[in-house]
Structures are given as C-alpha cells and as structure tokens.
C-alpha cells in the first residue's frame, strides 16, 4: 500500500510541487487538496505523502517553516523555492510533451 501504484513514477512529485506553487500549505492540507482535486482517481496514502514531501524538501525544491495556523495550532508549512519553481516548469513541460505524444498514439486509427 505504500507505493502510489496508479501514479506514473515522478508524477506525484510534480503534483505536490504544483499544489505548493499555488499557495504554501501543511501536509494535511496537501492530502485534503489531493483528494478534492482528483476525486478518487489519484489515491495517495498519507504514508506515501510525507516521505514524498520530505524528499522534495531534501532536494531543495520546497522549504518548510513552522507557522501558527488559523486555529492557533502550530503546523509545518511547505512552500516552493526558486529551484522548485524551475523544477515544476521542467516537469510540467515534460509531462505536456509526454501526454500529448501518448494521446497522439492512442488516437491512431486502427487499420
């Protein structure tokens, strides 16, 4: 259960970067957002989410900061770094090319 089997390898990273590009948020919020946005299509367990976030942090793509949230609760907020923005552009670019290439293939008419 630990591996997001239906996610293309590396796609989770891109999604996380994208969410954090929109606004800084904490891990819980990221997990909520994942569910909201993708419905049940993208199932990422909490057990995979945190290691993924920590990996992005260690790569220097996101940075974390402890903040007090709206309800007076301390939480770890992640935000995108300059490096992370560049990485997101690169991955989004790759993704665009990959998905359009795949859809072109899929749309080929059978003879």
């Amino acid at each position: 259960m630990s591996r997001p089997s239906d996610l293309v390898q590396g796609t989770l990273d891109m999604l996380l970067l994208k969410f954090l590009a929109l606004e800084p948020m904490n891990g819980f919020a990221v997990s909520q957002r994942l569910k909201q946005v993708s419905g049940d299509v993208l199932q990422v367990s909490d057990g995979s989410l945190y290691p993924a976030l920590h990996k992005l942090e260690q790569e220097g793509w996101i940075t974390a900061e402890w903040k007090t949230s709206e309800y007076g609760r301390r939480a770890k907020y992640y935000s995108l770094t300059r490096l992370g923005r560049r990485q997101l552009e690169k991955e989004a670019d790759n993704w665009g090319r990959l998905s359009s290439a795949i859809s072109r293939v899929i749309k080929l008419k059978e003879a």
């Binding site: 630990s2 057990g47 945190y50 260690q58 301390r74």
Partner: protein, 885 residues
C-alpha cells in the same frame, strides 16, 4: 549537480546531520499534527473517537514505518545510522567479553601474521627498488654451460668490450672487498665496493651530500677519494656534514671523503660502507683475472632479449680478438638478469609459499569467526525478530549486524598490526632472506593500506554472510515458536558444517606444507657434516699490504697463533683462508703427473690452512698424515686431498705419493694425506673434490689473498670471553688491526640451514594455529548442535536408545566433516605442494608418509574436538530435556 542546487541542499544535509534530534522532533510533531487533524475529520464525519483513531493510523501506514521512510529521504541518514550501529555494536560486544576477546584475538593472529608476511613480500617482490632506473638495471654474467656455471664474473678486457654495447646505456664493473679504517677511534674493518666510472650512473643515484666521482678520479693514481654510506656517516662520523673534503685513513692510505649516499642506496648490498673508484686501463689485457661483477642499464626502448642478443655478438667479438685465450672455452656465453630477479629470484618461492600459508591461516581465522557469529546470531534471533516486528527493515538489520561484525574485524586488525610490528622485530627474517639489498620491511603506508584492505574485505565477506543468515525473514516466524526452531537451525547447521569443513580443508593444506618443510629440515639437520662445529670460535683478520709487505705477513700469523694458543681455555688454534659453509669457495684447475685429465674433472675447491686445521675442526684422516711445516722448502711440496678427489682421480690406486700441480709452471706437490669429505659448501650441496694447501707466502700457483685469514679456535670457554682475550693478545702485536666476522662455527652451520628453517618454522606455526582454530570450530559447532538437539536426544533416550548410540551418532558428524574437509584439503594440497619443490631437501612433494601423517593428525584432532560435546550429549537427562519444552 549544479552549484546552485548545493547552495540549497548542503545546509539541509548539515542540519539533518548535526541537528538530528531537532529534525526528528519536528518530524514527530508534524505527523502527530496530521493525525490529530485526520481524527478530527473522521469524527466530524460521524465516526467514534476510537474508530477515527484507528482509521487515521491505518491511513498513515504505521507511524514508525512512515517516520523511518521520511528519515530515509535525508541523504545523510546512513551516517547517523552507521554511528548508531557502531555504538550499539560496541555495547553488544562489551556485553559478551569472552566472545569478543576470542574473536579479536583470532582475527589479530590472522591479520597480524598476514600483514607481517606481506611487508616482507612487499619489500622483496613488489616495491620498486630505490634506484631511478631500477626496472632497467641488469646484471651481466658470463656463463659456461659445459660446467653448468651461470654466474661467472668478467675480466677487464671483457668489461671494456661489453662497455661498447649499443643497447645498454651504461655498463659498469664492480668488485667487493674490505678495507681497514684507522685514525678515528678503534680501527674498523669496512666493506668496500670498488666501481668503474659509470657505476653510480647505471643506478641513477646521486649522493645526498657532496658529489659523485669525477671522470679523472677513475684514472690510476687519482683514485684516493671515497663516498661513504649513510649508516657509516651516521655511526662513525656523527652525521656531521663537515666530513666532506676531509681525509680518512683506509688501509694506511689517505683518502678524501667526497660524498655521502642516501640511506636507501643499498647496491650491491646494504652492508657496503664505502664506495671507491675502480680505475681500469683502457688497454688492459689481463684476461686471466675474472674479478669484475658487471651491471648495466637497458636503454629505454630496448628489451632484455635484444640486449642479450647484442651481448652475445660482443662476446663473439671478444673471442675473436683473443683466440689463444678463449680457444679452450667452447660453450662460453653471456646472460643478462634483471636486478630484482638477481636479488630475490631464489627466495621467491619461499616468500610466496609463506604468503599463501599465512593467507590460508587468515581464511581459517575468518571462517572461524563467521561460525562464531552465526552461533551468536542464533542466540540473538529473538532480539532480531522483535526488531523486525516493530518496523526495522531487513537491510537495516543487516547493516546493523554488519557494522557490529566490522567492529570486530577492525579491532582484530588493530591488535593484528601490533602483533605484526612485534613479529617483524622479533622474527629474524634477515638471516634467511636477502633483505640487505632492498628496503627492509616496515609498517609503512603501503603495508598499513594492505592491512586496512585485508580487514575490510575479510570483514565484509565474513561479516556479511552471518549478517545475511541471521536476518533471514523466517525469523519472523520464530517469535511464535518457543525458541527451538527445527527448520531454522537445521538450515544454519548446514552452513556451519560447510564452514567447519572448509576450515579443516585449509588446515590440511597448511599441515601438508609444514610437514614437507619439517621433513626437509630434519633431513638437512641430519646430514653428516664431516666436521665438529661445537665449541669453535672463528674471527677474521686482514693485514694491510703497506705495513705487512711480502715476507712479513706469514710470520705475523704464526706469532698470532702462538699468542692465542697460550690463552688458558684454548684447545686448538688454526688458520684457514675460507671457512666451510660460509661463502663460495675458491676453486682452481690442476694437473696430475703423467696423465691428461678431461676438462671438467680437473677442478677442485682450494683451501689454504695451517697444519692444525684438521685437528681443530676434527676432520678425520682416512689415510696418510697432516701437512707439516717441514714440508716447506720454502715453497710447499705437499698437499692433502679429500676422499671425493682421491676416488675420482685415482679410483683404483692409492692417492698417497701421487703428484699434482696447479699450473704447468708451478712446482709439483705430493699427496701426503686423504681426509674425510666434509659439507664444505652447505648441508644440501654435494661434496666436491678438494685440495688443502699449507699456508705460506711462497707462491705455488694458487691465487689467494693470503693477508686475509680466518682464525679457528677450539675452546672450552664462552665465546665472548675468548674474543676479548684474543683481542688483548692482538693488541700486544698490532693495536691497529680490527678483528671482524666474529662467529662460532655452530652459528655458521645453523645459518646455512636458515633458508629451510625459516619456512619450516613459520609454516609449522601457521599450521599449528590453523589446526587449533579448526579444532575450536569443530568443537563449537558440535557443542551447539548437541545443545540444540537436547530435546531430540531426550526423546531418543526415553525411547531406550543406548548412550553408545548417541555418542556414535554425534561422533559421526565429526567423521563426516573430517572425511569431506580433509579429503578436499588433501586434493588441494596435492595441487599446491608442487610450488614448494625447490624449497624441499631430499623429500618429494608427494611424500606419502607426510600425507598419511597429515591425515592421521587431522583425524585425531577432529575426533578429540568432537568427543567432548558428543559425550555431553550422552549425559543428557531425558526428564530434564523433555521438561525443557
């Protein structure tokens, strides 16, 4: 990666490394916060508090596992883990000091001995010689195949021609000798190397202090200059740089010190004290005196074969140039030998066999440790299973066990280095190995690296295997068991049996090698030498020509012997020009009256002696009488021959009364006595024909330096005391004469067997340790098996199995191990011992007695090691064993 990336990541890594506790604290808080929110959410959806709690945790997939995964994303995690593992390992090792002590000591023996032998291998075979051109330097030898002579020195005219070589950058001749240093403290006998003009250029070495010889210093009459060795400079001249330009008195003549060689310069040998020029006239035609050792360096792009071919054409040219001299010598050749080959060629098999032997011992030590670690893993299986159950991954467990095992090997390596250092200090390897010519063994950077690589590879190999076995997943099942898991332990027993059998096999190889060497040594020591070396002190004297011109030195030796004879404890005194078994004896051709001898049979070793020599060293007379001073008229008119010569030249006649001479222009000498054969050239060499001449100044055709003689004294007193007394007597005759090479004849005889003794002793030590370790291994595994089978034994006994049967079934293990391991070892030994052929003396490498004894010794030791645990099995009380359940 890009530098910008590092800018971000390096602080992160450092933080994870050094603020580890804080990072972990934050990780904990983060996940806790997540859980709380999740629970709140589930509760809001209408779950009970308990249900929400459970679901939230399930989503997270196990708090500890997730934490561990997050930690793994920190790239430096392994460093922390490693440090942690080491700390834990240390704790575990401290908890069982007995196990730790045995393991460390075993490894220390293995690694220490291996390191010590490697340092010898390194200095003899691997390390470049300390000369700029070392790999291109060759020795140049004349050869004479009809008599099987491969290392003949050259004459001056030969040297002058060889020097014309186009394939060698330089060719130099040198000769070794000794000289007396006086005027600075006690007179000292120093070893000198006289070299022709290119001597230092061949090796490419310059003095560290002062200068090299200039070309004109190789002109006759300008050669009173000397370069001194570093050790002489240090010991005799207090390392004072002001020595350059000062004069010293050598053989009563003054010479100017112009340089000091570096300490690493050990050519032709490390005990050379001085180098002096050897002037050779460009038109020398002295064909008869072959006194020059030749050395040269190949030009960079020239191969050994090319140069060899060229030297042959040069030799042919020499033979054409002096047809009268060379016409009789059909079969003369020339051969180039690389310098290292020259120095260590004959000991290479010994050194490599020792290295292999010590390698086997290390393997056994490591195998033993692997077995111990496996057993220990068995004991700790509950601990490990528990750790796997609460979230440790298998790799993590392996890493931890490996770190612990590596700690053992590290400690073993460290103690081993100390052992290696001590053994290099204590074991007299110099006596049997030519370490004088190379940079001697020491624990330097190269050897330390070897030790580190050894401990790391053995540690990884032999530490990883038990770690893999111990962390095997079936351990999970074990928690459910009572701790006595039949499947698992059987699996382990098989591995351990394999380990034990390989230990037995390795020790068989070592035992066979040691057995062969010991048998050789016994035969060598059992050889009848033909003389009595006990209670004989020898020492050497050299009379400088300036103060002892012709007509003076024989009288001196006569007086000196009289003085020594007057010392109370002295029983007999004699002089001889060359001692038995100490160096290459001079030989000479001779003619027999009234017969023409074939080439090759007319050669005999020659020794010049005083009349009492035979009685002093107790060489028996077969027939006839000793030489006598009355035989001098004033040249000698008599000679004594040995049995071999008498038999060879006069097989059917009485040799006594026959006449022989050394040259056609020398006087005839009558054979007056036949003495017993002695092992004059060493225990392992056959006795050659020998001629003994009476010591005198009168020439009778023998070329010998009669100013340098060895005094042989049979005494009842302790050697050092006697030497002091002799020195006092000598001072009363001439206070400026040094005595040197003070040895007992026993020491000389024993040194002549050291080439066999060193490998015999070392291999026996290795084999003994190996056998002990193998026995311990056998004992350990069987004891463990017995302990594991208590329940089974109990059942069998309860069902009526007799004790004998139980005993036999456990001894059966031992017999199986000994048979399989021993068999494999014998096969391996059979393959390997042929590499020892050149080291053996009168023993074939496949000597059946030795192989049988090895098998016997091994069988006995293995059975003895098995007997104790097997007997313990028969003392199992069925009631206790069954209740143990």
């Amino acid at each position: 990666m890009r530098p910008e990336h590092w800018l971000y990541t390096i602080p992160l890594r450092l933080r994870s490394l050094f603020r580890w506790a804080q990072a972990d604290q934050e990780l904990d808080e983060e996940l806790r916060d997540h859980l709380e929110r999740k629970i709140e959410e589930y509760v809001a959806q209408g779950m009970t508090q308990e249900e929400a709690h459970r679901r939230a945790r399930l989503d997270l997939g196990g708090m500890e596992q997730t934490k561990e995964k997050c930690r793994d994303t920190r790239r430096v995690n392994w460093i922390q883990d490693f440090v942690q593992d080491l700390r834990f390992g240390l704790r575990m090792l401290r908890k069982s000091p007995g196990f730790t002590g045995v393991a460390i000591f075993t490894l220390a023996l293995g690694i220490g001995a291996t390191t010590a032998i490697f340092s010898v291998v390194d200095s003899l075979l691997l390390r470049p010689l300390p000369y700029r051109n070392s790999h291109r330097v060759v020795r140049i030898w004349n050869t004479f195949s009809p008599r099987g002579m491969t290392e003949l020195t050259a004459s001056e005219p030969e040297f002058l021609e060889y020097r014309q070589s186009q394939t060698l950058a330089h060719v130099a001749g040198f000769a070794l000798g000794s000289t007396t240093l006086t005027g600075r403290g006690d007179p000292a006998r120093l070893s000198v190397s006289w070299g022709t003009s290119d001597f230092l250029a061949v090796l490419g070495t310059q003095p560290v202090l002062g200068r090299s010889f200039s070309p004109d210093e190789h002109e006759p009459g300008h050669d009173q200059v000397v370069i001194i060795s570093h050790h002489l400079w240090r010991d005799r001249f207090g390392s004072n740089p002001a020595i350059i330009g000062k004069s010293v008195i050598l053989n009563s003549k003054s010479s100017i010190v112009i340089g000091v060689m570096p300490p690493s310069f050990r050519f032709p040998s490390g005990d050379v004290d001085l180098w002096q020029p050897l002037p050779i006239a460009a038109n020398s035609s002295n064909l008869g005196n072959h006194y020059l050792d030749l050395v040269g360096d190949l030009k960079p792009e020239v191969s050994l074969q090319q140069s060899n071919a060229e030297m042959k054409t040069i030799l042919a040219r020499i033979e054409q140039k002096y047809p009268a001299y060379y016409s009789g010598a059909v079969g003369l050749g020339v051969n180039l030998v690389p310098l290292r080959e020259q120095m260590v060629g004959n000991v290479r098999p010994t050194v490599l066999v020792l290295m292999a032997g010590v390698g086997f011992m290390l393997l056994i030590a490591c195998t033993n440790i692997a077995g111990l670690l496996l057993t220990r893993g068995e004991v700790r299986k509950k601990e490990i299973a528990t750790r796997i159950a609460i979230g440790a991954g298998r790799t993590r467990i392996i890493r931890q066990l490996l770190a612990e095992n590596l700690l053992l090997f590290l400690a073993g390596g460290a103690v081993g280095l100390v052992l290696a250092f001590l053994s290099l200090k204590l074991v007299p390897v110099e006596e049997s190995l030519p370490l004088q010519q190379v940079v001697g063994p020491s624990l330097d950077f190269r050897v330390l690296s070897f030790a580190v690589v050894t401990f790391l590879t053995t540690g990884l190999l032999f530490g990883l295997m038990p770690a893999l076995k111990t962390s095997h997943p079936y351990l999970n099942e074990m928690l459910k068991e009572s701790g006595r898991d039949a499947m698992g332990s059987r699996h382990h027993t098989r591995t351990r049996s394999l380990l034990v059998m390989s230990e037995i096999a390795f020790s068989v190889v070592l035992l066979a090698g040691a057995g062969l060497m010991i048998a050789s040594l016994m035969r060598l020591l059992g050889v009848q030498l033909g003389f009595d070396s006990a209670n004989i002190v020898t020492l050497r004297l050299s009379l400088p020509e300036l103060r002892y011109p012709n007509g003076r030195f024989a009288i001196f030796y006569k007086d000196f012997q009289e003085k020594v004879r007057s010392i109370p404890s002295v029983q007999a005194v004699a002089i001889v020009n060359q001692l038995p078994m100490s160096e290459v004896l001079a030989n000479s051709s001779f003619e027999v009256e009234g017969r023409q001898l074939e080439t090759g049979t007319n050669i005999a070793n020659t020794q010049v002696i005083s009349p009492d020599y035979f009685s002093a060293v107790r060489i028996p007379f077969i027939r006839g009488r000793a030489l006598d001073e009355h035989d001098l008229n004033p040249a000698p008119s008599t000679v004594v021959v040995n049995q071999t010569l008498a038999r060879k030249i006069w097989p059917d006649e009485d040799a006594i009364g026959k006449r022989l001479r050394l040259k056609s222009d020398a006087p005839w000498l009558t054979v007056v006595g036949i003495v017993g054969d002695i092992k004059n050239e060493g225990s392992s060499k056959p006795t050659k024909p020998e001629l003994y001449f009476l010591y005198t100044e009168q020439s009778f055709g023998l070329w010998a330096d009669l100013r340098s003689m060895t005094l042989v004294v049979r005494t009842s007193s302790e050697p050092q005391q006697l030497v002091n007394a002799i020195r006092r007597e000598l001072n009363s005759l001439d206070p400026d004469l040094p005595i040197y090479k003070v040895q007992t004849l026993g020491e000389i005889v024993s040194a002549s067997t050291s080439q066999t003794r060193l490998p015999a002793v070392l291999l026996s030590v290795f084999a003994g340790i190996a056998l002990l370790l193998a026995a311990v291994g056998v004992y350990g595994v069987l004891a463990y098996t017995v302990a594991q089978s208590r329940h089974e034994i109990g059942v069998r006994m309860a069902l009526g199995a007799p004790r004998q049967r139980i005993l036999r079934s456990f001894l059966g293990y031992g017999i199986k191990w000994a048979a399989v391991g021993g068999g494999a070892g014998l096969v391996a030994a059979f393959i390997l011992v042929r590499f020892m052929r050149s080291m053996l003396f009168e023993v074939g490498p496949y000597d059946p007695t030795i192989f049988l004894s090895v098998a016997g010794v091994l069988g006995i030791v293995v059975l003895m090691a098995c007997y104790l645990p097997a007997r313990r099995a028969t003392h199992v009380d069925p009631m206790v064993a069954l209740r143990y359940e």
